[in-house]
């Protein structure tokens, strides 16, 4: 078991507004989220001496202007009244959104700083999401673009097709998950789709994006930011809300992470490389989780995570999610806040925030009674990914 277990905690969460396109520049949305997180924690911004973010561009063809398309550590240093002496910062683009949280945990345990602000700001450029407009395709894309196959959802669609063929899953099976997520989002006032219901029939009637994936299998891109405040367990006890202790973590460290290795075997190997570390560091396992917040940039990813992280056997997730098992009242509630599909595409920050709310008893209408341990895993199991186990007790 990891010696750092329970030594740090997430003590504050802040959201900016989540809209399709904001009137505010992204930098100001990030400041809104950071101020809200600090206020939630009961800390002054002058007490923050550590900063971390995952600034990656949200989409192909987006620009990289600081404060417009991304929000860097430097931007935050220049725009928030932080501690006069920032003692530590990190800007990370490997792994996924839990990765800057993991580095913050390391920094706190090492004594590099006392309080860390972590944010992820997502710009939603105008125009079609992830569109390809180059006339020449370089690198690996020269074997994809000339064939009209550059969009990440085409690769997800192909692997879901393979999964359906291999295990006998159908769209009806997947509908159960997507509709359940929407039901949870309808109990989440932050969610982009908080007031929009979705029926099984609505799902089946939605238009194709890349068969067998339809519009509602894709997360809803939003503009906005979520911020978290982390501190040591000692300091956390004096703050406003109960802390969510960081019990363990894992990152995807598998090889063969390119689009051309987007086969189901690789999904599972990559996912397992993360999950193995998640469970061994925390000394907990899938059966100890009171809920699971599993990334759903495209809906099948959550099913792959259920299998790769050991919540069920390989090839069983589509059956596992049926019969109410993943509802708020079920044996393993999944994506209790609506996920990226229905809360909005926040690259896994929403998943971490919800795990915090659940283990600290702050999930309101969505609260799983007595939730003591919840995992949040972000990234589709391929290419990238990072995850946390958060607990009620240190």
């Amino acid at each position: 078991m990891w010696t750092g277990k329970g030594k740090t905690a997430i003590v504050g969460i802040g959201y900016s507004e989540l809209t399709r396109h904001s009137q505010k520049p992204l930098g100001l949305l990030a400041i809104d989220a950071c101020r809200a997180a600090l206020s939630d924690a009961g800390l002054q911004s002058e007490q923050v001496d550590g900063l971390a973010t995952y600034p990656e561009l949200p989409a192909l063809g987006a620009g990289s202007r600081d404060g417009e398309d991304i929000v860097s550590v430097l931007y935050m240093i220049n725009h928030l009244p932080l501690a006069p002496d920032i003692r530590w910062y990190a800007q990370i683009e490997a792994g996924m959104i839990a990765s800057p949280v993991i580095e913050s945990v390391h920094a706190l345990i090492a004594g590099a700083c006392n309080s860390v602000l972590v944010w992820r700001a997502l710009h939603q450029p105008r125009g079609r999401y992830g569109a390809w407009s180059n006339t020449r395709a370089a690198g690996e894309s020269q074997f994809m673009a000339p064939y009209g196959c550059t969009s990440i959802f085409q690769w997800h669609a192909m692997q879901w097709q393979r999964y359906m063929h291999t295990y006998g899953a159908t769209r009806e099976h997947l509908a159960t998950f997507v509709v359940n997520s929407r039901r949870n989002a309808n109990l989440n006032p932050r969610a982009f789709f908080s007031t929009t219901p979705m029926s099984h029939e609505d799902y089946l009637a939605s238009r194709w994006i890349a068969e067998p994936l339809c519009l509602f299998d894709c997360d809803i891109p939003v503009e906005g930011c979520v911020a978290l405040v982390l501190t040591t367990t000692e300091r956390a006890r004096d703050l406003r809300h109960p802390p969510a202790y960081v019990a363990g973590y894992g990152q995807n460290t598998s090889r063969r992470r390119t689009l051309f290795h987007y086969a189901l075997d690789d999904y599972m190997a990559c996912g397992a490389s993360l999950a193995q570390k998640l469970w061994s560091s925390s000394g907990l396992g899938p059966h100890d989780m009171d809920a699971a917040e599993l990334y759903d940039g495209f809906s099948p990813s959550t099913l792959y995570w259920l299998e790769a992280a050991g919540f069920c056997q390989r090839g069983e997730a589509y059956a596992f999610i049926q019969d109410g098992r993943i509802t708020l009242e079920g044996e393993l509630p999944v994506n209790t806040f609506g996920g990226s599909l229905s809360e909005g595409r926040l690259h896994g920050m929403g998943h971490i925030a919800e795990a915090v709310f659940q283990v600290t008893g702050r999930a309101e209408q969505r609260q799983i009674p007595g939730a003591a341990a919840v995992c949040a895993i972000d990234g589709s199991p391929m290419l990238r990914g990072s995850g946390l186990v958060l607990t009620k007790e240190a």
Partner: protein, 139 residues
Amino acid sequence: MPKEQQPKPLPAVDDLTRPFWEAAARHQLVIQRCQECEYFNHPPRPVCDACQSQRLTFVPVSGRGRVYTFTVMHQPNIAGFEQDIPYLNLLIELEEQPRLFMVSYLPISAKANIQIGCAVEVYFEPVDAEITLPQFRPV
């Protein structure tokens, strides 16, 4: 009047991939292979994916394979393909090695003949003086 479509994207041929595209222009399918461990790598890589050797060369392959999976693309997301939607993309597993994948394109009219596991073979689609695309269709 439909808006004029920009041409489909073409490969930006580089030092690593030039032997592949030069062979395709001669209507020959070649794949990068490791001279140490004989593993096939596609797309071409600077080091072998199996043994990390840098002794890599290109060798002709059969051009036969099977449909590992496929999708029907409906979004006009890729400049040059707007008027082709819906269309098929196939992920072909070449017979030389498990999970040795290539991507291919077919018009939607071919859909009835495409299933996971069906046998396909390469054919060559000339685009311009430099570029010919290897494509696959059912045998």
